[in-house]
Structures are given as C-alpha cells and as structure tokens.
C-alpha cells in the first residue's frame, strides 16, 4: 500500500487508473485515425448513449429506482441545446451546461413520485412521461433555426436551414468525436466522484435498507431527488452532445420504447458497474451498425437484447462486465489445468 496525499492507495488501483488512462488515450487519438468517418459517427453516438446509460445505472443500480424515461430526457436535453445553439451565440460548453440543468429540473420533477412509490408503479409513471414527451415532440418538432419558442422556420425560409452548430474546436467528425469522448469522460468522473463520496454511501443504504438509512440520519427525500437530478443532468448534457453530432434532429430518433431498450442493455452491460454503461452504449449503438454492416437485419439486435436480459437475470446479475472476466479466468484455469495434465502425462516432473 502506498500513500498519496494521506490517502492509502493500493498498487492495484494505481495500475487500474493507468490502464484506463491508456485506453482512453487510445480511443481519443488512435481510434479515429484507424476507422472511417461512418464508424467515427457510430462511436460518437455510442459515447453519448453511454452517458445516458450511466444516468440510468445510477438511478437503478445505485439507488434502486427504475426509470423508463431516460431517452425522453435525452430528447429534452437535445431540444434545449438545439434551441440555444440556433437562438444564441453562447459557447458550446455553456449550452451543454444549460441543457443539463434544464433537463435536471424536469427530471427531478418526474422523480417526485419516486419519494412515495417504487418498482413497477414508478416504472409505469416514468414510461408515461416518456410517452408524453414523444407526443409533445411530434407536435412542436425540433428547432431548425427559426424564431419564437419553437424555433421553427416557415416554409418560405426553409432554404435558410443550416446544420446545428458545433464547437469551433471540433467542427470535423473526428474532432467532434474527441470532444464527445472528453465530455463523456467528465460525466463518468462526476458519477464516480458522487458514488465514492457521501451521496454514494447514502444511495447504497437507501437501496439496501431504507430503515437503516433513516436511522443513520440519511435524508432519503433529498438523496433520491439528488440522484434524479444528477442522472437527468448527465442525460441533458448527452442530449446537447447529440444535437451537435446529428446536424439536424427528428422526433423519430427518440421513440418511447428506446427507454425500455436502454434498461435492457444496461442490465446486460452491468447495472452495478460504471463499465456497464460503456458496454450498454456500445450495445445500443455499435451492435446494430455492425449487424447492418454484415447484412443482417438490425431488428435482430432487439432479439439479442431480449435473450441477453433473460440470461443476465437468470444467471449473471452483475452483467457482462462482471461475468466476462470471471468466465475468462475460468477458461484460463481450464486451459492451465489441461496443459498441466498433459505435461504430467508426458512424464513425472519435479
């Protein structure tokens, strides 16, 4: 054990941080050089959806509150950012921040029922909110550069349409991919920091035993709402990133059922680990693109997610990020046993 600024740190932790930093640098610099623009865009979307999955993982994995409206909140963030990017000259990071804050307020209001109800009923209420957002979007559409609250161009002005602007330092697709990756990493660090400190301990207590949390002095109302606010903030920031990545947005990109699919993929990825959110983002955005590339129907991914969730719920509650390393270790042991037996059969060894 080594001491860093008075905190005991295990060597394993230092190694882990270094490995993660190396992987991040690889994803940031090497990956966009190695793959085409199409795949860069796919990975940008995967990073954005990882942040959305991170929010849901926080709510469900850490606090135990089911939310089926995270994609709707993503739409709220995307809408807010789009309106600001067209209507104002504010710097991109400020727009992301405002999109996050607006979504946090709305998400916290949606979370209010969670103070009284949980489980299936909370899932239903959040799902109904998602349905409402889908409906509202179909009526007001995404802003496309016009004036007024809705920011809609009139028919005569449609030739004035320009893409949603991107930050000046990240106008190209690889540049925007890097920008997205950095913002996503900041969101993961924000989550990590909250989970490892006072709120994280309160959430763990609430999830496992509300009476124990209450007896310990945890203000359950405050920490449940904080979780909704934080998850919604991240989702709103992700929405802002999505607005910049797409050029133009359409309500059909945010169907209600995607919120349910998101729950499925985060369960598959691993609800109790931040890595699970990364896997979830890749599953929900990269996998369908790969299937399409191989000439398979992308709807096969729904079937795979269904089977995946069944498998996770039945045999591996920790999800892929928990199960795969275990399986690899088991495989390693099997191989070394096999090799050892073969060596033993060849002749007596010392």
């Amino acid at each position: 054990m080594t001491r860093v600024r008075g905190i005991e740190v295990e060597r394993g932790q230092i190694v882990r941080v270094l490995v993660i930093a190396a992987l991040f640098a690889l994803a940031l610099f090497a990956v966009p050089e190695l793959i085409g623009i199409y795949w860069v865009k796919i990975l940008t979307a995967a990073a954005i959806y990882s942040v959305v999955a991170l929010g849901l993982g926080l709510l469900y994995g850490r606090v135990g509150m089911v939310s089926l409206c995270q994609i709707a909140l993503l739409a709220v963030g995307a809408w807010t950012a789009t309106r600001m990017l067209y209507g104002t000259g504010l710097p991109f990071p400020i727009v992301l921040l405002i999109a996050g804050l607006v979504t946090a307020v709305i998400g916290t209001v949606v979370g209010l029922p969670a103070l009284r109800i949980s489980g299936l009923h909370l899932a239903l209420i959040t799902l109904m909110f998602a349905g409402t957002i889908t409906l509202v979007l179909q009526i007001i559409h995404f802003p496309n550069g016009g004036g007024g609250f809705q920011g809609q161009l009139s028919l005569g002005e449609l030739q004035d349409f320009r893409n949603i602007r991107r930050p000046g330092i990240a106008t190209s697709d690889p540049g925007y991919y890097r920008y997205t990756l950095v913002v996503a990493a900041l969101m993961f660090l924000l989550a990590l920091w909250q989970i490892a400190s006072k709120p994280g301990r309160a959430w763990a207590a609430i999830r496992e035993s509300e009476p124990a949390a209450l007896a310990a002095g945890v203000n359950i109302t405050r920490y449940k709402l904080l979780a909704f606010a934080l998850a919604s903030f991240m989702t709103g920031v992700a929405g802002g990133l999505l607005a910049g990545s797409a050029g133009a947005l359409s309500p059909v990109a945010f169907p209600t059922q995607d919120s349910i699919v998101l729950l499925a993929v985060i369960l598959m990825g691993g609800i109790y680990s931040l890595w699970g959110a990364v896997v979830a983002g890749l599953l929900v955005r990269l996998l369908p693109a790969l299937l399409e590339n191989w000439g398979v129907s992308i709807y096969l991914s729904f079937l795979l997610f269904g089977i995946g969730v069944l498998q996770v719920l039945a045999t591996a509650p920790g999800g892929l990020v928990d199960q795969v390393p275990k399986d690899v270790r088991r495989l390693g042991r099997l191989i070394s046993h096999g090799v050892g037996r073969m060596a033993g059969a060849r002749g007596p060894a010392g």
Partner: protein
C-alpha cells in the same frame, strides 16, 4: 434519561403499545417481554418509523416527536435492527462513515472516530472488507459500531444477540456494557437472552401485550411473579 408518558400506538384495531408510562434512568436499560409485546414497535416510535396515537417521549429534556425522523440520528438517537441491516455493498469503513457523515460528525476527525468505533466493538477485519462478506457476529458488531460512532446519546439495541452462539454473546455483552461509560449514552437493550440482559442492565422494564407490567432494578424485576408468569412461563427456569 428518557421519560415515556401515556404512549399509545394503534394499527387499525390492534394496540401494540397501550398507555405506556416508564422512565429509563440511564446506563444500560433492559426492555423485555414476550414476542409481540411491543418492544420493537417502541423502538420504531423512537426512530420515527411509526407515529403514535397519543403520549409523549422526552429524551434528556428534548421532545423526540418534534424532530423529523432523519434528524434524530443527528440529535444522537441510534439503533440496530432485529434483522441486522449491514449495507452489504459498502465496505466496513463506509458503513460506519455513512452514519458519521449523515449524523453531523465532524469531518476532520472522521477517519479517526470511525476506526475508533470499529476498535471499540472489537471488529477484527480489514476496514476495506465489504460488509457483505462478513459473518453473522461481525455484522452485529458492525451495526453496533454504526450505532456508537460520533456522539451517540441514546442507543437502541434490538436483539443484538439473536442467532449468535453463547460464547459470542459474552463478547457482545462486554461491548454493550461499556457503551454508557465510553460515550455517556443511554442504552436500551431488547433481548430474549436473559443472561445477556442480567449481565448488562442495571434496570429493566417489562412489556406484555403493549402494557408495562414491571420496571426497576433488573434482579428485582426478574423475580417479579407477574413477569415470570407473563414472560418466562411457569415451568421455565431463570
């Protein structure tokens, strides 16, 4: 000192606590009675989980019912549960830290006070160990560490010895006995293990069907024939 006056709790047609008036003078006080006598309900009233129909509880002069439930830990009210509630996904250290930081413990001495509480209960596992990996005895001790970290004023122990073998109850008794002198806190101990209660408690109150049937020095109370008849049964030996 805790003064309970005319405390009544009703759940529909059931009255688990009926006009309970008793004083817990200080030190370690026992609270015994047959199953369903209202002991845990009394703890739940103190914790704020259950709202009483009538009556008042004053602890060291403060009206408990005037405090919001989650504020009571900050005031100094702590408890353990009949079914231990160790937070399995947190480390041993974080289990205790959770209580310390949410009950108004001072940040600068947090680490020190947490390790102190763990040492006080005699928990001999690494503070980094996940609570989910602990055995029954260690989980009970962890709960007592949570209930005593920082500045406890009233510690409610709900059957801390339940499910533990006799030799481990001895250590538990020694820990419980030392809480009042160490922290200046008042301890109320609910347990069915009479040897534990007689070893730890100077005074004991007895509930039966929600009514207080005896209270006073433990030895006297345990000789009281009402108590023997109601609680211990006539054949059972002390």
């Amino acid at each position: 000192m805790i003064e309970v006056e005319g405390l009544t709790v009703r759940f529909g047609g059931v009255t688990p606590i009926d006009e309970m008036t008793v004083v817990f003078p200080g030190g370690t006080c026992g609270l015994i009675g047959p199953n369903g006598a209202g002991k845990t309900t009394f703890f739940n009233v103190l914790s704020g989980f259950v709202k009483p129909a009538a009556g008042s509880i004053r602890a060291f002069g403060d009206d408990i019912f005037k405090m919001a439930d989650f504020r009571r830990a900050r005031w100094g009210l702590r408890r353990t549960f009949q079914q231990e509630q160790a937070i399995t996904s947190l480390s041993v250290f974080d289990n205790v830290a959770m209580v310390h930081e949410h009950s108004g413990g001072i940040r600068s001495s947090r680490r020190h006070e947490i390790l102190d509480a763990l040492a006080f209960v005699g928990l001999e596992v690494s503070p980094r160990e996940k609570a989910g990996l602990l055995g029954a005895r260690d989980r009970r001790l962890l709960e007592i560490a949570r209930a005593t970290v920082g500045k406890p004023r009233v510690v409610l122990l709900d059957e801390p010895g339940a499910g533990l073998p006799a030799e481990e109850t001895v250590h538990l008794g020694q820990v419980i006995e030392r809480i009042p002198e160490r922290f200046g806190a008042l301890v109320i101990l609910v347990d069915h293990d009479m040897s534990l209660v007689s070893a730890c408690c100077e005074t004991t109150a007895v509930l039966d069907f929600g009514k207080l049937i005896a209270s006073g020095p433990t030895a006297e109370v345990l000789r009281n024939e009402h108590v023997i008849r109601a609680y211990l049964g006539t054949e059972e030996q002390l």
